[in-house]
């Protein structure tokens, strides 16, 4: 099977890779590019652990092919913090103890970023429905929702 050459942007870096036509974006990120911060929980689009942003849209990377990444702008969990430090969302997840085991956390943080980029002032119901595609089995969601609320307020104050 011949591999396909893909040019893309990941976390601001121009990247090129070769991938099999059947490989999902999740497989490419994890197995070909070493970006293992994006997690596999189900590989069927039901758990959100593999959430990434594609041109600013929230996507389950297990439901997209690697070849479809050609020419797009990808953001993964590895691209959320900056050289200046953690993103406010990451700080708030830590402050609120919004993670226990941490396997769902990258997906939640990417999903939260996608939410706040589009709606800087979501109410609790909006947050809960936006994050309904991300499963967390440890926290019961309470502290995650509070972390998102606090992050939204902090970002609004800083803006």
């Amino acid at each position: 099977m011949s591999k396909t050459h893909v040019s893309t942007t990941i976390n601001g870096d121009q990247m090129e890779f070769l991938c099999e036509p059947h490989q999902t974006l999740l497989e490419v990120l994890r197995d070909e590019l070493g970006l293992t911060g994006t997690k596999e929980g189900c590989a069927t689009g039901d758990c959100g652990a593999c959430s990434v942003m594609v041109d600013g849209r929230l996507v389950c990377s297990c439901l997209m092919l690697g070849v479809e990444a050609d020419g797009v702008d990808l953001t993964t969990i590895e691209g959320i913090a900056t050289p200046d430090g953690l993103h406010v969302i990451q700080e708030k997840y830590l402050e609120h103890a919004a993670l226990q085991c941490g396997i769902c956390t990258p997906g939640f943080i990417v999903a939260t970023k996608a939410l706040l980029d589009r709606n800087p002032n979501p109410d609790e119901t909006t947050i809960r429905y936006w994050l309904a595609g991300n499963l967390c089995r440890c926290t019961g969601y309470d502290k995650i929702v509070r972390a998102v609320q606090d992050a939204a307020q902090t970002l609004a104050y800083e803006a």
Binding site: T36, K39, G41, A81, Q100, I103, T139, D142, K143
Partner: protein, 742 residues
């Protein structure tokens, strides 16, 4: 014991030591390790729930392109234990998804293709898929050699074991009662639903020594169990625990590790194996489906006179359903003068169950707490008042034997009674339900080392995989004991060769038992520091105190010296005897039982049968909350798992014994939009057997929600739905049946 007001670090809510790695994607979990020349291992799983294996031929697969190793049961030592037979089937497959063979190939696709080339001949047998079927006279046997409690004088049976607790005279007790309630409840098999599938990577060196990287709740157990299945010495295997993406008891055993090690031995290359989500549902240990009867009798004033419970739990394919803890828990919260509790461990053709958060307790206590709710209604008593009337306290003899020391059940009930969510009226059209929960918690073996760097920085090394923030609690207890700031302490989980033996992260034991080892290792450091200070000051050891992280002369000792901090002593350690290294190992005794009281307001949509949780309040005795945020997190997470079990989660099988909902789309765990905020109130009745009063909190939270939700639905509807889950089809059917009956 230190009073709460004197504590400086304990009770604060700092960021956990491993936090940054987990919000940046840097933390390495089970599937995140890739090694040079690594092969990919895949498992061939049984397409039948029950069948005899007539033959397995792996030769075509072994010769396929890219395949470097292939194994079947014949490649593992004969006379296999149940564990060995669960890892890879021998003469029979006992559930759909049971591992039959495995291959390791250069690519995943090659491995998958090779599975198609394995030839297995089966003689299909009738699957045993329910407790009724398994316990019926003349039932098909899951294991023809299984005799109840090993008694070979009786015919073989699917009932692998029984358990019984008895006290007083049951008949006389019920005869004394003015009111008696009896009920019967079924709860289907449910899965822990951790988000991270099982994964491991094994590599075997030319000297025969293996290294296994895997996600587990206990790497020392992985080492001993893998050695057992392979017939190897424990000393040949090193296990490195990755970060672990949830377990809830489900990662306390092994599935893939012996296969990966064996195929690495055969190929001379590292072998990585990961489960799909479907594999996780079909082939790892969920918890028992259950059938429980509860009966309770009381005087008109609510005083219990007698109670009984009969429990039948699905073990899955091999014995080991949690009937022990089911029986221990069912009446633990109460003073009951006359009781009989019976448990049955029953084989069925489903995956072998594994621990799931307070294993066995949610199901049996669901039955009893529903019965007690009905009793309160018959007596026209508030459900809290009825429970207070009969609540176990210090000195109560638990149904399973021991006398409780100080426990916090009464305090939880009193706090719930005063809670604003309880004094508030029930929302219009909704129902309110309440239940109590219990878990005895365990101690077991732990080790810890505390190392002091030359600038006084503290490294804690211990062996309990951190599944929910335990590094933070270890660092807090170390900071408190040493008298140094939390930020100076780093806590690490060492592999099987880097740290001393620790039992699994389970039984809510980590903060209690490993925490106790960390505290003792810090006390070892303090003793050494006092000795080093005495040497420096030319005093006797007994003349030196340790106060707020510094060695000082005891009051009244005549010495004109400046205090020596941990950093001062560490800096000069070379002159006073060498590096500071504290250690402790123990078999912790005195785990403190943790009680809870949960209540919820829920509303059934009578058109659709959907139950909405409007509010949920969890009150629980933590003994001492070391890091209150993570204690609340345990209470909230356990509550939501319990709500999910009460409302939706169940293994659904077809007539051939094939699970029909082996994915998160159809096995529906709660999502954020299903839930309200979960209100928590931590009660602190210190455990007298832990230096800071810790009880352990992780498991109790899942126990009460099942009955609390059921009781709320009962409150609204005016009739009881006995079985779980209270999924829309079941609730709608019950409502239709009720209306039809009127």
């Amino acid at each position: 014991m230190a009073e709460a007001v004197d504590l400086k670090a304990i009770g604060t809510r700092p960021v956990r030591p491993d936090g940054i790695d987990k919000v940046t994607g840097r933390a390495a979990f089970g599937a995140d390790l890739n090694l040079p020349n690594m092969l990919h291992g895949k498992v061939l799983r049984s397409p039948h729930a029950h069948a005899r294996i007539k033959s397995v031929d792996i030769s075509r697969a072994a010769a396929a392109e890219g395949v470097m190793a292939a194994v079947s049961g014949a490649d593992f030592p004969g006379n296999a234990s149940d564990l060995g037979k669960n890892v890879i089937a021998r003469d029979k497959v006992l559930y759909h998804g049971h591992a039959v063979a495995a291959v390791a190939a250069k690519t995943q696709l090659q491995a998958e293709a090779a599975l198609e080339l394995i030839d297995v001949e089966y003689e299909v047998l009738e699957p045993v898929m329910s407790l009724d079927q398994a316990m019926a006279d003349g039932a098909t046997l899951v294991n023809e050699n299984q005799h109840t409690n090993g008694d070979t004088s009786k015919p073989a049976s699917n009932v692998a074991a029984t358990q019984r607790f008895e006290r007083g005279d049951l008949e006389a007790g019920f005869a004394e009662a003015d009111v008696i309630v009896e009920s019967e409840h079924r709860v289907p098999m449910a899965h822990q639903g951790y988000i991270e599938p099982h994964a491991c990577t094994a590599t075997v060196n030319e000297d025969g020594k293996s290294t296994v990287w895997c996600c587990t709740q206990g790497h020392f157990d992985v080492r001993s169990l893998t050695a057992q299945v392979l017939g190897e010495s424990v000393g040949n295997i090193k296990v490195i625990p990755s970060e672990i993406g949830g377990g809830f008891g489900g990662k306390t055993t092994i599935y893939l590790e012996p296969l990966a090690v064996k195929m690495s031995q055969m190929s001379g290359r590292p072998v990585k194996m990961t489960m799909s989500r479907e594999d996780v549902f079909r082939a790892t240990g969920p918890t028992s489906g259950t059938w429980c009867r509860a009966k309770v009798g009381a005087k008109k004033d609510g005083t219990f006179t007698a109670a009984s419970a009969w429990l039948a739990y699905e073990a899955g394919a091999f014995p080991g359903a949690p009937i022990g803890p089911g029986c221990m828990s069912v009446l633990a919260p109460y003073e009951v003068p006359n009781l009989v509790i019976e448990g049955n461990d029953v084989l069925v053709n489903k995956p072998k169950v594994c621990a799931y958060r307070a294993p066995g307790a949610p199901q049996s206590m669901h039955a009893m707490e529903c019965a007690i709710d009905e009793l309160a209604r018959k007596l026209n008593m508030d459900p809290i008042e009825l429970r207070l009337k009969n609540a176990a306290g210090e000195g109560t003899v638990a149904p399973y034997g021991p006398r409780f020391p100080a426990i916090g059940l009464r305090e939880c009930l009193e706090a719930a009674k005063e809670h604003p969510n309880y004094t508030a009226p029930v929302p219009e059209g909704a129902g309110r339900g309440l239940a109590v929960g219990f878990w005895f918690n365990i101690g077991m073996q732990s080790s810890a080392e505390v190392r002091i760097a030359e600038d006084g920085a503290v490294t804690v090394m211990e062996g309990s995989p951190d599944i929910g923030g335990s590094r933070a609690s270890m660092a807090l207890m170390a900071a408190e004991t040493l008298g140094v700031p939390y930020e100076r302490v780093k806590a690490h989980v060492g592999d099987t060769e880097a740290t001393g033996f620790c039992n699994v992260t389970g039984g809510s034991r980590t903060t209690f038992a490993t925490g106790m080892a960390v505290i003792q290792a810090c006390e070892d450091i303090i003793a050494q520091c006092k000795q080093r200070a005495a040497l420096t000051w030319d005093l006797d050891e007994e003349q030196v105190d340790w106060v707020d992280g510094e060695a000082v002369p005891k009051p009244g000792v005549n010495a004109d010296v400046n205090p020596l901090s941990l950093a001062d002593i560490a800096r000069g350690a070379g002159r006073t005897g060498g590096p500071l290294l504290g250690r402790a190992s123990l078999n912790a005794q005195g785990a403190g039982a943790s009680f809870s009281c949960n209540f919820t307001d829920a509303k059934v949509d009578k058109e659709t049968g959907k139950v909405d949780i409007l509010s949920f309040t969890a009150v629980q005795d933590a003994g001492r909350a070391i890091h209150p945020s993570y204690v609340e997190g345990q209470m909230q997470g356990g509550a939501v798992q319990g709500i999910g079990w009460a409302l939706n989660e169940e293994y659904i099988y077809d007539a051939d014994g094939v699970m029909e909902n082996a994915g998160f789309l159809d096995y529906r765990v709660p999502v954020a939009s299903d839930m309200p905020m979960i209100d928590t109130q931590i009660i602190e009745v210190p455990n007298p057997f832990h230096p800071y009063g810790v009880r352990g909190v992780g498991e109790t939270p899942i126990v009460a929600p099942l009955a609390a939700v059921s009781n709320a639905v009962r409150d609204q509807l005016g009739f009881r739905i006995d079985d779980l889950p209270l999924s829309p089809p079941r609730v709608l059917e019950a409502i239709d049946g009720q209306e039809g009956g009127e």
